[in-house]
Point group: C2
Chain length 281, copies 2
C-alpha cells in the first residue's frame, strides 16, 4: 500500500470487502477520503473499476450504505470507488457555511479563484490522482467507468466527455447537466472559477457534448417528481445537445421517482449492467 | 386511514412505495413511528406482511435505508413493516441517558417496572396493536412473518415462538438468543421486568423454544467476526435448546462477517426468500 494510504475501517459485504480509506492528496493538498468495494473476483484477478461521484452534502459513505450497489458489483466483478465530494477541514474561511459551496460541494472542478484554489482541485483529483492511487494499490484492470448522482452526475458526465479514452462507460442519476444554466452551477462556478463564463464551458456537459466524440451510449435515469428537475437539472437541455451532436443518449424518465437514494437503489442494477457491458469483454 | 395514522413522508422505490408513519399508540400511550414498504403487487391485491424488528439505537429508518430489502420484497410481493425500537420522548426520567436502556432499546418486552411500564409495552405493541393497524390500513393478507437483527432478532424469535399461529415464518440476523444469560439482556430485563428472573423466561428464546411448538424451520445468519458473538449473542445456547426440543434450525455461520448492515444486506435475499416460501402458497 502507498505510504500515505490508510485503511480506516473494513467490512465483509457480498463475499467482497467494503473499505474506507484516507490519504494525503497532492492534488488537493490535504487529506482526502474515499470508499472502495472490492468484489470477490478481485481476490484472484484484476477487475475493472467503476467510479461513483456523489451529490451535494454527501461523503464517501452515502452511496456505499444506501444504493445497494455492492450486490451487483459482486455479481459482475467490478470494483467500486466512491470519493468524498470535496476536501474537508481545509481552514478556508467559510468552507462550512453554505451547503452548496465548500465542504460537500466540490462540484468536481479545479478551482482557479481565491480562496478555493489552494485545495479545491476535485477534477484533477478524480481524473488523475485517484485512478493512479487505485491502480497502485488494488487489483484492477485499466478499464474504467464513471457514474454519479446530481452534482456527481454532472461530475461523471464532464469527466467522461473530456476523457473518452479513459472512461469506457458513463451514466448518471438525476444529473446537473447544464451547470451554466442553473442556480447551483452558476453559484458554484462563479465562486470556484470566477466571473468569466467562458472558463465554465469545460465543466458543462451540455456544452462539452457538442464537441465531444464520446460515441458510446450514455444512460441517464431521471425521476419525474424530482423537485430539482425543472430549476436545477434541466435534462431537456442535455437531450437537445446530444441530439444535435449525434451523441447516443438513453434518457429514461421514471414516473413517480424523486431525487433520493430510494430512486438510485431502484435503478442501480441497470446502471451497473450498463457499465459491465462496456467494461467486461 | 385510521384517524390517528399520519403519513410523514413517502418515496417511490422498486415500483412500490416506502412510507414513514406515526400514530397515537394506545398500547404505548404515546406517539409511535413505523415504516412500511408496499410492494407493487399491493396496488391490485392483498399481500402477506413481513415485520422487521431492528437492533439497539435504530429507528424505523435504518433497515429501510441500508438493508436493500425492498428489491426482494418487490420481487416476491411482500409488505415490509418496520417499527421503531422503542417509544420516544415519553418524559420518563433518564430515557435518553443510556444507549442500551430506554430510547432505542425497548427490547420488545412489556415493562412491568416503574418508570418504564407507563410507555414501554413493545411486545403487545408489536404482536397486537401494530398488526391490527396494518390490517386496517393496508392491502394485506392475514399471513405474517417476522425477522430482526440483534435485539430485534431476539424480539422476532420471542414473538414467533409465543405466537406460532400468528407468525408463519421467522428468521434473524445475529440475534440475542439468550437474554437471561448476557449483559444486554440482564440489564434490560432487570430494569423493565424487575429482579424476579422467573418473569424473564417468557422473553427468552432459548427458554421458550424448549416448550414451544413452532415446527417450521428457523433461519439464523451469524457473522463469525461479530464482536458481540461471544459475550452477548451466544448462538450456541439457542442451537442446543433447538436440538433438545427438536426445533428445526438453519444456523449459518458466515465467515468474516460482522454485526453491521453490510452483513444484513449480504444475506437479506435469502431471508426474504425464506419468508416468501412460507407466506406465499
Amino acid at each position: 500500500m502507498a505510504a500515505s494510504l490508510k485503511l480506516t475501517s473494513e467490512y465483509r459485504c457480498f463475499d467482497g470487502t467494503v473499505g474506507f480509506y484516507c490519504h494525503q492528496s497532492e492534488t488537493c493538498n490535504i487529506e482526502m477520503r474515499f470508499a472502495v468495494y472490492q468484489p470477490p473476483q478481485a481476490k484472484s484477478e484484476r477487475v475493472p473499476v467503476l467510479y461513483f461521484l456523489s451529490g451535494l452534502t454527501c461523503t464517501e459513505e452515502n452511496f456505499i450504505v444506501k444504493a445497494g450497489a455492492q450486490r451487483y458489483a459482486a455479481e459482475y466483478g467490478l470494483m467500486l470507488v466512491v470519493p468524498d465530494t470535496s476536501p474537508r477541514n481545509t481552514g478556508i474561511a467559510g468552507e462550512d457555511e453554505e451547503w452548496d459551496i465548500g465542504t460537500g460541494a466540490g462540484f468536481y472542478v479545479d478551482a482557479t479563484e481565491v480562496p478555493w484554489r489552494s485545495h479545491y482541485q476535485m477534477y484533477s483529483y478524480i481524473v488523475r490522482e485517484l485512478p493512479a492511487l487505485i491502480a497502485e494499490n488494488f487489483s484492477v484492470q485499466p478499464e474504467q467507468g464513471i457514474f454519479g448522482h446530481s452534482m456527481g452526475g454532472h461530475g461523471a458526465l464532464v469527466c467522461a466527455l473530456r476523457n473518452p479514452d479513459q472512461y469506457q462507460s458513463v451514466s448518471a442519476f438525476a444529473p446537473i447537466v447544464a451547470p451554466m444554466q442553473c442556480p447551483w452551477g452558476e453559484k458554484a462556478f462563479s465562486r470556484y472559477l470566477g466571473t468569466d463564463r467562458d472558463s465554465w464551458r469545460t465543466y458543462d456537459a451540455t456544452e462539452l457534448v457538442l464537441n465531444a466524440n464520446y460515441q458510446r451510449p450514455i444512460l441517464i435515469d431521471q425521476g419525474t417528481v424530482d423537485k430539482f428537475l425543472v430549476d436545477q437539472l434541466k435534462l431537456e437541455l442535455f437531450a437537445s445537445a446530444c441530439a444535435k451532436a449525434n451523441q447516443p443518449l438513453n434518457l429514461r424518465m421514471q414516473p413517480g421517482y424523486d431525487h433520493s437514494y430510494y430512486f438510485i437503489a431502484t435503478f442501480i442494477e441497470d446502471h451497473i449492467r450498463h457499465h459491465a457491458a462496456a467494461l467486461l469483454n
